[in-house]
Symmetry: C2
Subunit: 335 residues, 2 copies
């Protein structure tokens, strides 16, 4: 039975939302441990009736502020809910942890408590984008502003193993984000990573992918540095919001009320697929544990989705798959 430790103090809305989500997830048959201030959590649980009071709480005196830098987490030697959740995973009392928001602190804490998988120099943040049936996994979406080519090669293996084991894509197509399809295009780091990946028989490497094809579905995995990846992911969010604002206005200005009413519900899911919350939570790949981070502004159903995503990743053997795939990564850093 896989247990999910939920950082109940995380997220923009904190315990009122995380506790509601935990109650819902437990009702769905997922075993959740709430981690946070036991008085606050107890009071929240009380609102959900006697059944909810049986939900397990592990106390943590502190919480990481949503806007605290990752470096603060590094100084945290003890009592934050994030750290206590990671320690539950470390001790095997939970098999996965979920925190909503403050990705930097989650990464730092997970890394400090759980360590890295063998052969991984730098863990990275995966983000699932729409465009392919099982989604497109972009890695790194922001954990590493600077990378070496060896990191990109490791990202490729981590991401492909994740898509295979968790999203059940039999042979994930792996691409390298660049500024031209030719192997010679891009920064020297990208060109070098291309050279290594092109000879990597453990991967289905399809070459470079340009920005315009990121969401085209040509690749299941898109590998990039955390700077470019973060800009891309946030640009997708920003552009989608901007466009739908303009489109909504054009719809209202051009159509009568009944036509507006017929159309807007059909447009909503097109916009929703690009919301950061759409996938519930995204994995930190390369740490030695199933660690998922969701968007701070998530509502309770989204936190439930986050818990479910983390639980499913455990059930599908995420860590064992990642570990196995890393055995075929060239051992030496490549510069």
């Amino acid at each position: 039975m896989n247990v999910v430790a939920l950082d109940a103090m995380g997220g923009d809305f904190g315990p009122p939302i995380t506790v509601e989500a935990a109650v819902m997830a437990v009702a769905d048959g997922i075993d959740v441990i709430l981690v946070g201030d036991e008085d606050i959590l107890g009071a929240e649980l009380h609102r959900w009736g006697d059944g909810a009071m049986r939900l397990r709480v592990v106390h943590a005196a502190d919480a990481v502020a949503m806007d605290a830098p990752g470096t603060d987490a590094r100084r945290d030697r003890g009592g934050t809910s994030l750290r206590v959740a990671a320690e539950l995973v470390k001790r095997g009392e939970a098999q996965a942890m979920v925190s909503m928001g403050n990705t930097g602190a989650a990464m730092t804490t997970a890394l400090a408590v759980l360590g890295r998988l063998p052969s991984v120099e730098r863990p990275a943040l995966g983000v699932v984008l729409p465009g392919a049936p099982a989604g497109i996994l972009l890695l790194d979406a922001g954990a590493n502003a600077e990378v070496r080519s060896s990191h990109l090669v490791q990202f490729a293996h981590l991401a492909a193993a994740y898509m295979k084991a968790v999203q059940r894509v039999p042979v994930p197509r792996v691409a390298l984000l660049s500024i031209g399809e030719e192997p010679s295009k891009g920064s020297s780091i990208v060109v070098q990573a291309h050279r290594v990946l092109a000879e990597d028989e453990a991967l289905q490497f399809i070459g470079n992918l340009e920005g315009r094809d990121l969401l085209s579905g040509k690749a299941d995995v898109v590998v990039t540095d955390g700077f470019t990846g973060n800009v891309a992911v946030k640009l997708v969010e920003g552009l989608t919001e901007l466009l739908f604002g303009q489109i909504r206005q054009a719809v209202i200005d051009s159509l009568d009320a009944s036509a507006v009413e017929a159309l807007l519900p059909a447009l909503a899911p097109i916009a929703a697929q690009f919301h950061a919350e759409h996938y519930g939570a995204v994995p930190l790949l390369g740490v030695d544990g199933c660690v998922f981070v969701g968007h701070g502004r998530s509502d309770a159903p989204t936190v439930v989705k986050a818990i479910r995503v983390a639980h499913e990743a455990c059930e599908r053997g995420m860590l064992a798959a990642l570990t196995a795939s890393l055995r075929s990564v060239p051992g030496q850093p490549l510069g």
Copy 2:
């Protein structure tokens, strides 16, 4: 009188489109020199009647293939239309040049023939994005896959001077694309450029901008390396196409024919603002000449727009403004 040299062999469709565009631009009162194979251009001009036959043609025996790498252009010592057009600018017979497509070759040729402006280490490609009344100038959009912080600082000055002189933004707000708004966020190159720009009194530097705010209109100029910039620009194109494909289908599926007919024309300009052709042509900033590059797939009205953009930039004193602004750039490369 500012004269525009048009690389008439450029673009996906070549002389049939470029000659038509030149004829239209001349009718608008812009002086254009067509550069390319004189037999082919003569035959095209013939189709537009006697008036068109007075349009000046400068012969160039060769053309750069649309897919030729920039390095081929470096070996070109003579006869391509691109090179002949640049030489017309060098000799002062034209004040601007325009080529549709093959940005790499245009950059290489312009640089070889015209050289750089003082204090510029690396010329860069500007792309105008929607989001502010005069557009948002993103620099670099792909000329330099790797940069130093000193390059970013120079890009900031070039781009701000362009927006001020050509787009008449009185005090352009300059931002640095990064993965967090804090000065400490981003790669070490971005962090270092931030430090320099924050103390640069010649610029209205507003700090870092995240991907989600690239098109928000918070900045008139967004500075980045050519890798990130190229990925971002192409992602905007790709995502817009993807979204409008899905939206069009939802509109057709949800509305009756008359409502569809009422709505689609209102949506078209929303999509069009994100097309690469929307601004006609974009500037190569930092070369010692007014050099503009348009999209290869442009039709004749778009090539006219490209000619007009280049002509207007000359009229508004683009080069003098760039040169003046570069005087306030810190002189030493910053690493």
